[in-house]
Symmetry: C2
Subunit: 319 residues, 2 copies
Amino acid sequence: MVDVPELVARAREGQPRAVARLISLVEGASPQLREVMAALAPLTGRAYVVGLTGSPGVGKSTTTSALVGAYRRAGKRVGVLAVDPSSPFSGGALLGDRVRMSDHASDPGVYIRSMATRGHLGGLAWAAPQAVRVLDAAGCDVILVETVGVGQSEVEIAAQADTSVVLLAPGMGDGIQAAKAGILEIGDVYVVNKADRDGADATARELNHMLGLGEARAPGDWRPPIVKTVAARGEGIDEVVEALEKHRAWTEEHGVLAERRLRRAAGEVETIALTALRERIADVHGDRLVGTLAARVVAGELDVYAAADELRASLTEGE
Amino acid sequence: MVDVPELVARAREGQPRAVARLISLVEGASPQLREVMAALAPLTGRAYVVGLTGSPGVGKSTTTSALVGAYRRAGKRVGVLAVDPSSPFSGGALLGDRVRMSDHASDPGVYIRSMATRGHLGGLAWAAPQAVRVLDAAGCDVILVETVGVGQSEVEIAAQADTSVVLLAPGMGDGIQAAKAGILEIGDVYVVNKADRDGADATARELNHMLGLGEARAPGDWRPPIVKTVAARGEGIDEVVEALEKHRAWTEEHGVLAERRLRRAAGEVETIALTALRERIADVHGDRLVGTLAARVVAGELDVYAAADELRASLTEGE
């Protein structure tokens, strides 16, 4: 068993291996998961969490890397979490990230972590927030959560941020793909990357139209900006950081940040509770109980509602 | 409040209005739902339940009506349940059913009921089994459960039968549509209706190919028959009844009937229990509790797992 208080203390001191070890403990179904989360709880809530999503090929990792550079120049400690909900691999950086993130690999002010979230208690979308809490407790000022694709899980993960960034690139009918994937609804800031390519203006216009940005909004409403970047050359990155800071200020001013964090926590708590109940039904004792109850229903000894009551009662017995 | 034992007694005597009243009580969220189900439980398990599904236009109602006629000629009491998971209307026969079912409207040995299942405790798919139990308790020998479309709910409902019939008609690439809808996996008996039209043989061949009926099966395995009918003229209906009876005999002989009913009951009990738990979370007390827990998580006073434990504990308190 790991000495959790000791590990947390070392993570607070900025030891990368301690941070890595804590993330490993929380991303899987470690028996010490609860101990770790309980130890981290009082240390969390300070970091600013930015979600980044977009179709493969839009340059998410390059943009993330450029953002890391910008935040580092501003003296911030930065955490990067690259989440792949469909990958069974985790625990270390993927090759692609390693290459693109190599600028920051030796920087002690940057933590980079790839994680797979398959099989996590509470479902795919709820492993990332636990890793975010580790980085938060370890003293990161900004945490960038990057998802690999645009599936439902990716969108869910990216939406669990203080600010969500949606990336697009010119061509490929990307706007329509993004609309289909449902990511147009979650963006607080939009980035059209590879803006030196043909069609960048058209993509920005199409996006502007689809988002209804030309339409009137209530005063005080957030109007998502569209920022054009060439992340590989660092162009437009300062403007992205500026847009992020503006959004952050707006969410704080209007109580949106507090509301988002509350809603996120409520969703997490509900999902974890229901998943635990479902797993209890599926466990050996529960499974046998369901079978016994079903047999009594089929025999006409018990109706399904009374059987469901018995099942529910058994779920919290003996805990 | 309804006098449930009295109502059940009258339904047992064959009074159609008592049967209709009971179905109304079980299909909604009546406060007497549980009382009704408890009263019905000992009276159920005798009826043979047949599910019928297929795309709109294949002639499901006409086929159902013809099957009712065939079973009536054999002296059986028949219940018909037309389920529309997407319709907000319920409580009486829809116009279309009335017209097509008019042959049987005045027959005291036939109960016909259309039901919508929206908003039912335990989800769409679980309202139909309760109505089936009413018809079963009322003394129906055969219950035909017909779904209007081929969505996921319809497929689920049709699959909750002792025998599932999948209907197709020539043309319209119907086989491929059926495959997409997932109904090719649930058929115990396939019916190609409107078999007097061009393409009926092609549809049957295509179906035969898609089902892999030409392939070798283990001895004792069920090989779903494909029956061609012209239901509007009553052609092929006796063959369908014969196929149904064969499947029923096979399921009884191989323990499949008992196993299906057990699995169905287990699924129902689990779903009702989990839905009730989810609804408890969403109720006034629970909702406030989730909010309070979420606020403590955001404040760092509590971790999400400890919060989920508190939520779970509260779900069964004071019941």
